[in-house]
Symmetry: C3
Subunit: 468 residues, 3 copies
């Protein structure tokens, strides 16, 4: 019996399972549309072999690191060093073994689903990882990684990826994307504009980032108007590199619509590093509005990922840097926070703002009512901690009755774990089919409607919302 059962994640009640299976067959093999994620474009530009299983699958995965760390396994034991680079001194096979011996910790988590899928579907290893088979599996994955069919471009094609978006800072020269544009390889890899380093006054090195922004854009950033011009220039450049969207990671969904003189004053203080926390938040809020106004002009779709307390564990941050599993969600608030932006552009049907949340209490109370009214708003899929079977079900259960399906935008894998992308889309498709199957089984929807929706959710909604 395979580790991956063909009916996995469907409800076990026969009637629902049968309907889900029928729906799933219509979407299982559709191409992957990945409109938001964090893969490295150099993988596809350079097409070099991945180093080994530990560096590829384990060390960059904050889901894995956080769980192992929570059970008392030090990040140094896992070979993690500051900035995420694996340490030369830690034997990657020993790290893999530590993971293999603790694979039971992931029971009931999405990590387990994704890893099993990678083992079976990418490497043909149809066994549950254990301490015993760990070394053998490690060797087998490494063996395959050196083969042509595991090179990034080969995987891209094996995964049936229609388009994938990476995420870059406005300061990024997009060299890999330039090379990809010049390359005859037909894979579609586009960038997305993530301006946090130059719109968040509390980002590390904000003033330096602005200096770089001025250089990159050729616009003086001495004043707020020049700064906006520089951002506009960068957006145009990103569009030329395929970007159809921007993305914004803010502590909250606060937006602001301030007089220009206030913007100028806040901007000058931001450059001097003298904003207090409230002023910094206000500045970020103003910048969300500015980004929305620019989107209205240049047509880039806007994404907002708010509500995370980043690097909650200071000691770990000092020793190991960002993205090591110490980011914790915060309560969300959208109704008051988005009001200034919505007052200005909320009724513009040509503008799209896609909202994400880590606070599930906002699904039914705030997000679905907002997206079920404002023409500019759409809801992104269940995100991060909620990108999981139960999380996705709660999302559909709490969002659909008020916002329907057509105010949502299909799935985002949002990952740097390239090999898990098919697994993640597969989980999303299975859960959507399961949800639709329940509606059909309970006579709340007809089968033809559910089929149409399953296909829409698997790709069409993402294509439309992200203008792909």
């Amino acid at each position: 019996m395979s580790v991956l059962h063909p009916d996995r994640l469907f409800a076990s009640c026969p009637r629902q399972r049968d309907i889900a299976r029928e729906l799933y067959q219509q979407v299982a093999h559709l191409p992957i549309v990945s409109p938001h994620g964090h893969t490295d474009p150099r993988w596809f530009a350079d097409n070099r072999a991945f180093a080994n299983a530990t560096e590829l699958l384990l060390q960059p995965d904050h889901y894995l690191l956080r769980m192992l760390y929570s059970q008392g396994i030090g990040l140094d034991e896992l070979g993690v060093r500051h900035g995420g680079s694996a340490a030369a001194k830690t034997d990657p096979e020993a790290v893999w073994q530590l993971f293999a011996g603790n694979y039971h910790l992931f029971r009931g988590t999405p990590t387990r689903l994704w890893m099993d899928h990678v083992f079976v579907e990418v490497f043909g290893i149809d066994e549950l990882l254990t301490e015993n088979n760990g070394p053998r599996i490690y060797a087998e994955i490494n063996r395959q990684l050196s083969q042509p069919e595991c090179l990034p471009r080969a995987l891209f094609q094996r995964f049936n990826i229609e388009v994938i978006a990476t995420t870059e800072s406005p300061l990024d020269p997009l060299d890999a994307h330039r090379r990809l544009q010049a390359d005859p390889w037909p894979g579609r890899v586009i960038t997305a504009f993530r301006p946090d380093p130059v719109v968040d006054p509390e980002f590390e090195g904000f003033a330096d980032n602005i200096a770089q922004l001025a250089l990159a854009s050729g616009e003086s950033c001495d004043h707020f108007s020049g700064y906006l011009a520089a951002l506009r220039e960068r957006r145009t450049f990103f569009k030329s590199m395929g970007a159809t969207a921007t993305d914004h990671g803010h502590p909250s969904a606060l937006t602001a619509d301030l007089p220009e003189s206030t913007c100028e004053r806040l901007y000058q203080e931001a450059l001097r590093g003298s904003l207090n926390a409230d002023q910094a938040e206000l500045f970020r809020g103003q910048m969300l509005l500015e980004m929305a106004l620019m989107s209205l002009d240049d047509g880039l779709v806007m994404q907002l990922h708010p509500g995370v307390s980043r690097n909650h564990n200071s000691q770990l941050f000092r020793e190991f840097g960002r993205d090591k599993g110490a980011d914790i969600p915060l309560p969300g608030e959208f109704v008051r926070g988005l009001k200034p932006l919505l007052e200005k552009v909320g009724n513009e049907a040509s503008f799209t703002l896609i909202l994400f949340t880590l606070d599930e209490t906002t699904y039914a109370r705030e997000l679905a009512p907002l997206a079920g009214h404002y023409p500019c708003l759409k809801l992104g899929p269940a995100w991060w901690f909620h990108d999981s079977p139960e999380g996705m079900l709660r999302y559909r259960q709490q969002v659909t009755e008020t916002a329907g399906f057509y105010n949502t935008v299909g799935f985002n894998d949002d990952t740097r774990a390239f090999l898990s992308i098919p697994a993640r889309h597969d989980v999303a498709r299975r859960i959507d089919c399961r949800f639709l199957a329940q509606l059909v089984a309970e006579h709340r929807m007809t089968m033809p409607e559910a089929s149409e929706l399953a296909v829409d959710l698997a790709g069409n909604l993402a294509r439309a919302a992200y203008k792909l």
Copy 2:
């Protein structure tokens, strides 16, 4: 196969479905008790034919308007004008066609369930509305609306309504209700006392409303004591027109118990329009307490519907007015907010305060614990955005274990969409039977107990709580 499957909304697991079906058969045909809603009493007093499908079913329904608007369809295209009156210039059939062509947007929403029910059960049209059959269905509904069996009183009787409560302002002379009282027609249509326009200092025209209140009541409202006397007089008048309940739509559940001198001062400033937002909220909170004290005297059951950001979309409000689908829920708070009121009257078993919420996080955390303790408190059903299959299930799942069934009050349709009333009660009865069926199937309750509860939830609890 009918659009309305006889087993719709029951769990599809055969054991649960069979039990639910058995329970449902005991309640399906019980009379409708509608203790809280927004139908127009003139319909029943005048008994005139409804104009057409668009004016009756579409234009006044903010659920419909909000979804269509969210997908970029302008309210003007839907023939909506300021105040909700349909525009003469917009062809109602064209509006209907716009709706028919977008009926897929409502997949998975309660609107879809209600509309399908209306088409089949009221008009005998057993087809899914589409762009193709839209004109034919429009014509057929209009044809029937002009027939005697579709006059308001005929529908009232076809719907098997035992009693229905409308909602009126204290400034309303209740002419329709007077006429109904004088009419030999046996239908029971009662009013309910909704004093928001005269207790909320931020209501449009508050000072004018108070002037009218003075006139209507014959009490001087120059001072707080006279103002209270005027309210008492109006309550007595509403009672004489059948009212058994009051209803209060406040931004929050804040209550207050202020010294009389403070009340007087706030009242004078309210009349002058000089209260700030916090003071206005405090005044409203005091008025909730005053209403509770009056209820203790006159026996009117009190309802509180808090927690909505009304008219969130300013542009839409300016152009089209209230109730166009731009109301968004706010986080709820009851534990601290209700304390002043509960300290004063919380232990009075002869007083009833029925609580509603749009913030589902308060079900298990605040409302069920409060209602499961205080003799005066009862919980209203899942409300507005949550008046839906998933919403009702979450309500029972999150409320029952702490508050039981007998601290809830059965169903409210809370609607101005008269034709959907049987549909809404049917959904509620089906979901309650489904919930009970699960308890029986999992051996947490016996079948005789579930039968008794199904009947209680379908009407008896409402009759008792609302003193009908």
Copy 3:
């Protein structure tokens, strides 16, 4: 047919039910590990017969009292007097009858499940309690209570309790525990250290409590350092009486890391009773940090039960005292509140802080992400209002995908209702088996893994987390 169906609480879908049944058979008869609760150690030290059904089962049970009270039954009618002592004047049989006649109120609540279990499994009474059989059941329970097999120690052994922890104040001389230590009876009854009366400046009689603490510990408590020494001494004493854990009931999870001079100043004001509410909260927050630091030294596991508005009903509190069902949950906040403590000891794998909540919105948003990262954190089971089938399911559904199973600690019965302890553990085991069965039935976990987890959840996780 028995009132207790062998498949109760399992999903009714045959596939899931069969798997759940198979898992449950492996854990149904495992010994009970009760690491946190409120039984009276004198019961086991003295081993005297319980008085009667009303005093044993009804009057101390705030779940029962609150529901009956919510429906207008006065606590005086239930024979409750200030401090919880039953009144001599109220006939306990009449009180029992009042309960029996209102047993329907508990339909759908955990109280109903627990009581049915006690009737059937402890007393062999396999009938649903009604007004009719009430007197007979009352007499039968009383008859059995006077028999040897219903003495506390006999029940302890019948219940297959491996270890039970009671909860005591640092001011408690632990006489019963001393006697138990000297007694050859093999039952393991340990204490737990609950310092609320001496670390919460708002606790009734705080200054007097500190005076008693000084006496009991032999340490001068004139200054903060001596006060800490006194607490250390008491912890050592509690450890000698078997304690492996401390427990803390605070209004919130706020922690603080203040300079020593500030601690001293707050402490002096606390003794004088001159702290305002914010300062009192800050002092409590500092004391949570102090307790964590002491735990790092002495190895006692720390438990935090935050977020209750105690004695919400002032009138009831004045007339009847604490713990009469008028405690209401408050919104929870852990991400910011715990930060000072986590900054200091969060990365210490040798320290354990077990978190509880009454605010289910924090499960997926805050608690699972925190426990899924910090080595010191574990999650306690669904608590109090959520210690119920639906509550436990929501807990697993919302916690597992981010924190896994191994960052949770198995079940706590947390009760003073001794006879209900087997019922409560049985419900927890059934629900855990049901949850695991769903994962197996949906091919998200293998059966051998689920079996291992069922056993771990039924006892091993508690043994490990509480060092039992």
